[in-house]
Symmetry: C2
Subunit: 261 residues, 2 copies
């Protein structure tokens, strides 16, 4: 997978992912000093290549490339990696993308999740509506490299993933856009959910949300309460609100634990 631009290459070099090569164009040479501490480490051996500006522009995905790129091997995440509780956190908090189609939204949601302390992400292969790859250039730019730092599991079909997560003790939380029918579980406000348990937040398609049967099989359905007559938030803003609420509860819990005798 290629990443481009000086900030993204820095992120990649810091991420601990295996680097296959770093590429500088003539113009990109001016970033060589800035990147030197990350590139010139004896313990990591990868080729540093030079190219002409013309060749680089042919390879680049952006219109005005900075002339720096890296070839990165994405971290291989197993299911066990995904559900691990990282040190310093009370429990794992995952985001499961199921049908988010805009690469920019995928990247922004991963960036927001990482910023608010999510411990991993899963990109579910789901029947009708696939999810955009988090490793495409557009998603990588929108995620500002978050996809390199988070454990990201890709390709497991959604029903299998949900079953595995339930068996592993996770509560499945569906971000809902549907009205519940009679007899179904009610919609909860984000603050009515206990985010300190091992949780997986399911985020669906920008327009149609999660498939109804997925919402029904979730342990809780969440909706952000809003004044009547106002349209819903866009997918990225809604994710920001939900992960903020998770961070609020998980942080305040940590503080409370420290203060207790």
């Amino acid at each position: 997978m290629g990443v481009e631009g000086v900030r993204m290459v820095e992120e990649a070099l810091r991420s601990g992912c295996r680097i296959e090569a770093v590429l500088f164009s003539e113009t990109g040479e001016r970033y060589r000093e800035r990147l030197a501490p990350l590139v010139a480490r004896p313990e990591i051996a990868f080729p540093v290549l030079r190219t002409t500006d013309r060749l680089f522009e042919g390879l680049a995905d952006t219109e005005h490339p900075q002339g720096v790129a890296a070839l990165v091997e994405p971290r291989v995440t197993t299911f066990d990696d995904l559900v691990r509780t990282p040190e310093g956190t009370c429990s794992p908090l995952l985001v499961v993308l199921a049908g988010v189609q805009d690469p920019g939204n995928v990247g922004t949601i991963l960036r927001t999740a990482a910023a608010f302390g999510a411990t991993g992400a899963a990109i579910a292969a789901s029947g009708q509506s696939g999810t955009a790859s988090p490793f495409s250039p557009k998603a990588m730019r929108a995620s500002a490299g978050a996809a390199l730092h988070l454990s990201v599991l890709s390709g497991t079909p959604l029903p299998i993933l949900m079953t595995q997560l339930k068996v592993a003790g996770f509560r499945m939380l569906a971000s809902s856009v549907h009205e519940p029918e009679t007899g179904e579980q009610p919609l909860l406000a984000p603050w009515e959910v206990d985010w300190c348990e091992a949780s997986a937040l399911l985020v669906g398609n920008e327009g149609s949300g999660l498939p109804v049967e997925v919402e029904r099989s979730a342990d809780a359905r969440i909706r952000i309460p809003m004044a009547s007559g106002v349209e819903s938030l866009n997918a990225a803003a809604a994710a920001a609100v939900l992960f903020y609420e998770a961070a609020r509860q998980r942080n305040s819990l940590a503080t409370r634990n420290i203060q207790e005798p």
Copy 2:
């Protein structure tokens, strides 16, 4: 001020703002039935005009106009209107935009504020960096008509507005992007702020935030805590998180009040 498209015209007709005229093109005629209950009311007298598609396209701001538009007189909001406590709310909650330059961001912030129960908005005239008008076509589209429902006060210079609000008993809350210097008030997390008091949330420029002297003179500086190394949220997502926190506190207070004997 003109608004365009069937949803926006509906919003305008419902808003209680004075309508100067409604305009249908030949193509737009198919929306006449949908709008009829709002247009054909005896108590409101405004001309309903017809035009050719060609003329309408010349007037329209969008590329593929729906052929319906309305000429609306924005609600005149006085300072007294702005600071009023609307029925059913515990206290007024205002958003003050000071230097937000992208019309899309202005619209989205107003829409989010309205969705989470803000009671009014002020667009401050501020020295170097003005704020985009909430009544421009682009801002109106992004706000999905929220600017028509909220009380919006425009044009008061920021220092005067801040003084007036302080005198009226408002706490000034600055959404901060600056590190505090020694001796300055610390940054608070959104959940450390009491949003049930009369509050005005100041939102600054997308890149540079609020002027430092404005942050210093605020009663509290707020920053959304995030994992280190992650860039900040964009302006609209940050506003969504802050107004969500306000709504969370204000709603739970309401619930608590109802449940108490």
